[in-house]
Subunit: 335 residues, 2 copies
């Protein structure tokens, strides 16, 4: 007889929350009670779990009593507001917001990379930034061959990173263009259809955005590389679900292209797609709606003998958010 | 009384050829006879120059007699085939193909950067690769402050880089998606609508594509930096006309962000758009249909004290091809 776990999804009606519910099914998590929680505005909606209807309830401080795990897919402010009640109820909060990611008491976890960190939690485990998860999945295998000293990353980020509203905005703008109407951006600062926007997040230090600094700050914590430096440029592209990242990384000793390919091909959760003659390289469309990070275009960096270039793609809503959170949960219950 | 020049446009019916004709008008080039030349298939079409119809003729070896300049917008093979007849006719061939770009007898020219090289021609002047022109326009001012040692570049290239067929393919695919039909890529190796493709050109050395190697090889010649190294990743994005490039460059001595901004803001053909609080940064949509290269997102490279990050956008058909060629022509006739 296997044990069941009471699980709440906080922010169940958003793009990431809905995907978390699907991932709980797909990963065959033994769920006892499932509570789907959202703001008062979304309460009363009916979602489906394992074929059965579940009514969404308004999240309150009392919602977490009796829960073993809470999967969070809400804003930083909401995560901070509910975290004390979740911890007090004795549940483990696996939080997709960035509220606790730099808190030394809160592990920041990608299960394939630093799963062991999850067990040092004091009630809160943070799910990393989406681009950071996908990039680190691609480079973690190389980091095992020789530690990474620094990275240059340019992202090609899907609209799903802005949630359901981002997905709707791209589709609405494409409809508008088709109908000869001028798109009216609401979610993004500029038209995203047939455009790209080099601004994600808000302004942070030294002219970088908050989104750009996450790659360095979260990368240091996840890879256990406190001196890692990362120059990141985050760019929104008119793609629905999968993020792509062009990465140059420099390792302590030279890692050959063949060593890198071999390491990536055996790394759990990663797949090598690096055969240009066979037109096999990752694209966001080909890597959507699944949990593997695809890596290709591995080349020597022509500017540094210890450098490698690569290109990776992974589904933002899944491995970049919901699936990674459910994988953390699975790791916790299987231990 | 000002002198007039007889000018032929070879490949007049393509996206770049048509733009060359418009640029001849806009730059008020004193044109005597204008010959619009194309393949037998396109001959007979009527185009317009300065409000008057001009019938497209089939290009033959005799088409260039009496011409002062020939603007070329055809394939490498066609450029090579016609170059001897053009030179024999005594015309200067300003060629947009890559056929002669690495020929030591053929200058490779961006007028604002190395205009003086144009006068060393022996009958052929090459127009550089589109991404290379736009990237170098953004960094040339910084190169004057301190020489560039190396660059990392990730491109976001518009579909116009594949000519008229690329423009039509993106629009057709978006229509197909709107109508619930599965897009059938012909020009690009994968669906480009709502996708990005990390493969442009054909395979070259060390797993780089021909398109990627142009940034280094043409950059060396244009900037007069024979030891420049460039690691480039070229990516097609679903944007119509303007290329964007995320660049990290390392200079011999440290150039501050403020020095770089100041140098770029006074460089001819460049405009600084670098005010994040004012939402002023370059996007491909905002920089289409004009000849200036816009530069923003200038930041210190967090991985190298002598490094700078920047983001630039410029119209591929104009400054990346047709306008640059007409600017070379203008330079030649004004000297």
């Amino acid at each position: 007889m296997s044990k069941c776990f009471n699980i709440a999804v906080l922010g169940a009606t958003g793009a990431v929350g809905r995907q978390m519910i699907e991932c709980l099914e797909e990963y065959k998590i033994p769920v006892g009670k499932l509570s789907l929680l959202a703001s008062a505005r979304s309460a009363g909606q009916t979602l489906t779990f394992n074929g059965k209807p579940v009514v969404v309830e308004e999240a309150t401080e009392k919602s977490f009593e009796g829960m073993n795990f809470v999967l969070g897919a809400v804003s930083n402010a909401m995560s901070k507001a509910f975290a004390p009640a979740i911890v007090k109820a004795g549940a483990v909060f696996i939080d997709n917001s960035s509220a606790f990611r730099q808190d030394p008491d809160c592990p920041l976890v990608v299960p394939e990379i630093n799963g062991e960190d999850a067990f040092k939690n004091k009630g809160i485990i943070s799910n990393p930034n989406c681009s950071t998860i996908i990039t680190l999945m691609a480079v973690a295998a190389i980091n095992k061959v020789s530690p990474i000293k620094n990275m240059i990353a340019s992202t090609y980020q899907a609209v799903s990173g802005a949630g359901q509203g981002g997905l709707v905005e791209l589709e609405t703008e494409l409809d508008d263009i088709h109908n000869g109407k001028k798109p009216q951006p609401k979610v993004f600062p500029h038209q995203i259809a047939m455009n790209v926007i080099p601004f994600i997040g808000s302004m942070s230090e030294a002219d970088y955005t908050t989104e750009e600094m996450k790659m360095q700050n979260e990368g240091r914590k996840i890879l256990h590389l406190p001196n890692l430096t990362v120059s990141c440029t985050c760019v929104r592209v008119p793609v629905m679900r999968s993020h792509s990242i062009s990465v140059v990384l420099r390792t302590e000793r030279k890692v050959s292209v063949e060593e890198a390919r071999k390491a990536i091909s055996v790394f759990p959760g990663c797949r090598l797609a690096d055969d240009m003659d066979g037109r096999n390289y990752p694209t966001p469309l080909d890597t959507s709606n699944q949990d593997i990070v695809y890596v290709g275009r591995i080349r020597e960096d022509l500017t540094d003998p210890n450098g490698l270039n690569l290109w990776c793609c992974g589904d933002q809503i899944r491995k970049g958010a919901a699936a990674n959170a459910v994988q953390i949960l699975k790791l916790m219950i299987e231990k």
